[in-house]
Symmetry: C2
Subunit: 413 residues, 2 copies
């Protein structure tokens, strides 16, 4: 009798198929883990529970659209990490994760969407059995409490299952370790930048009066996923955004099937993605002659960009970068209170930001070579908007743009 | 001086631009809210905190890629609901949500990604001021504790901000209200089905030996987003899946840039989406003559589908449907322990299931006309797989397939 996977019994561990190529060496994964465990050792906790898919990928290479059911990596302060996922997805982890078969644990299918039990009940029990999580009051662990895919109910199940272990918030511990990129990661960002350039040029060609928004976005997505010869595209953590006309005054409305009109402006925000590394890029396009307020705003923002790029180098603070921009646009009577950029690297839906460093007022984080930012200058006005952005890698010499798409307002007449 | 939105000050409320068309009448939103409040009244709680983007959309029409920062709708057991979101996204809510300006509240930008404070601190304080959430021990509310975008930290902030109000798990209360679709929702599902059919036919044409997986998926996504004339496509909650060759034994690995080979099989799982309503659809394709075990499996599953379709009608239980399938495939020596379907309707990343009813052993939920299911028959074997699925609307007469793509194994020679 043949049995499908998906049940609680240990899955048979298959050979890794030849089409699976991990983008990093085992040595690199080992170094990443070591850095995380060094930070953990300073925090007086027994283990870290990782739930953010980007952090799972960073630490193990595990990569699948499986984050809609609970999954986590338990990283003890000393020793090997263990991955817990739905049984049918544990199978995929055997293929993609830099973990031995004994480090991957699939929970049974009957735990999915039950009112009376939760997968994290099972995870807690199994992790204690394995000795990677402690149990009982007096012990302390830390967990990614603000991760998108670690629900409140999952947290309560884990807490109860560990019999009142103290669970502190990890405060994005792994995300902070991801901040400075290794040479191999910098290569991934460069590939992502090449794709982003191709995608934006496709988008600027596709946007025309008379075309439906959905048809323009379809062209953008095709270019994103197809990528380039030798450098395949991957899915972005955020779908392409195309705020148009009056809705350009708010940044996150998705497309509709209405037709683009001559005389209106649209902002296009998208990303090039390779092996989960993101290079986001935004431009604003005017279909026909742009109004004076849009031209003036674009010119002021370009000046602001030049000013901030002077500060975007090792040794300066995020605050320095932000204030160079605000001083420059302030000379044109403009202000912007939301941040002007954030750290990028690996991304999974719903966000390609790393949720650590923001380029904003008061941030005293000191810039280092190997950091990467999405510098995003979005001016969301009342009934219109202007947005331009650049993915930038910091080198010892200063900011390195990952694309070479011309800046400023694009006018199609 | 011009000021961009994004700060804490109340946003100016613009007129709704003419391109925003809400897909449902205000009357329909009022009825949905009333049904939710009726259930709440029976639960002895003061209010419900809704965080699932699909539930926000269902209750208000609010639709944006804004769920990566905290947002929620507070539904008091009596009276008007209030929406809380990042200030720049509150602006979008004014456009899309069936809420008055006084019901939309934007939290300040400085709350984003801070170690020392959290947007839910602000939401708790503001909701208490407005009188839509109670404060202090002795009061009780309920919240979507297992929603993807209500983090553990958000929960702890809310609990502390409400000074020890008791917070129970809503157990997917709104999702259960969504289970039976209104006539207007059924229309949306029919449109989604039309798109799904177009997308699958595109996919079956695009998959060819010698093409890269990423190029095939690019064609699929183009068809999804473009949609049909008069019926624009929307983004799916899950990217197209294309498990191939040996990795077809696990369902959720995403594409790579390797080239499809003659002689191998792939499963294609995708959705047609219109106005956030999803019609998911899966098929398996053999490039060249399929091996006997794949042909046999496909034949057994087709027989299983016919058997379950007999039971998929008002008055039967989910258990009845599941056991009809397992009996049929059991005659061929096959078993399947994971569920064979789940309720569908509105979807947002990362999942297009409604997280309520599963077609599985032991589920005594009684089927009703107006329910909709993704019947998914995935046989994930060791090193290969077969998968076929149908989006189905239940009518008084029985199951209505939302697409008419031929079933069974597709062979391309």
């Amino acid at each position: 009798m043949t049995t499908t996977t998906g049940q609680g019994a240990p899955t048979r561990v298959p050979r890794v198929p030849p089409e699976i190529i991990r983008p990093f060496s085992l040595q690199e994964y080992a170094e990443r883990l070591e850095r995380v465990q060094q930070v953990l050792a300073g925090r007086d906790v027994a283990a870290l529970v990782v739930a953010d898919p980007a952090n799972l990928y960073y630490l193990t290479g595990y990569n699948a659209w499986s984050f809609y059911t609970p999954q986590c990596l338990v990283v003890p302060t000393e020793g090997e990490p263990h991955l817990f996922a739905r049984a049918m997805d544990a199978q995929g982890a055997h293929y993609t994760a830099a973990l031995g078969p004994h480090q991957v644990h699939g929970y049974p299918e009957f735990l999915i969407h039950r009112p009376d039990t939760h997968p994290m009940d099972w995870v807690a029990e199994r992790a204690v059995e394995l000795g990677v999580l402690p149990s009982g009051a007096g012990s302390r662990i830390t967990a990614e409490l603000d991760s998108h895919f670690f629900s409140a109910r999952g947290y309560l199940s884990l807490r109860d299952g560990l019999h009142s272990v103290e669970i502190t918030d990890s405060q994005e511990l792994v995300n902070w370790v991801r901040l400075v990129k290794s040479p191999a990661e910098q290569d991934m960002l460069r590939y992502a930048g090449q794709i982003a350039e191709h995608v934006m040029l496709t988008a600027l060609g596709a946007i025309e009066p008379g075309r439906r928004q959905c048809d323009i976005v379809a062209d953008i997505q095709h270019a994103q996923t197809s990528g380039l010869e030798g450098v395949g595209g991957d899915y972005p953590a955020i779908v392409p955004m195309l705020p148009t006309g009056a809705t350009a005054g708010t940044p996150h409305l998705t497309w509709s099937d209405r037709v683009m009109r001559y005389g209106e402006a649209a902002t296009i925000e998208l990303a090039g993605v390779h092996q989960r590394y993101h290079a986001p890029l935004a431009r604003t396009v005017s279909l026909g002659r742009p109004p004076a307020h849009l031209v003036d705003c674009a010119a002021a923002v370009s000046e602001g960009y030049e000013a901030l790029a002077e500060e975007l180098r090792p040794g300066r603070t995020c605050h320095d970068v932000h204030s160079a921009f605000t001083r420059a646009i302030g000379r044109h009577g403009l202000t912007k209170e939301s941040r002007i950029g954030y750290s990028i690297g690996i991304g999974y839906p719903p966000d390609w930001g790393e949720r650590t460093v923001s380029l904003r007022e008061g941030s005293q984080t000191v810039l280092e070579a190997g950091m990467a930012f999405h510098v995003i200058l979005g001016m969301w006005m009342d009934g219109w908007g202007y947005e331009t952005s650049e993915p930038i890698l910091l080198t010892a010499e200063g900011p390195h743009r990952l694309t070479s798409v011309p800046g400023g307002l694009t006018v199609k007449t």
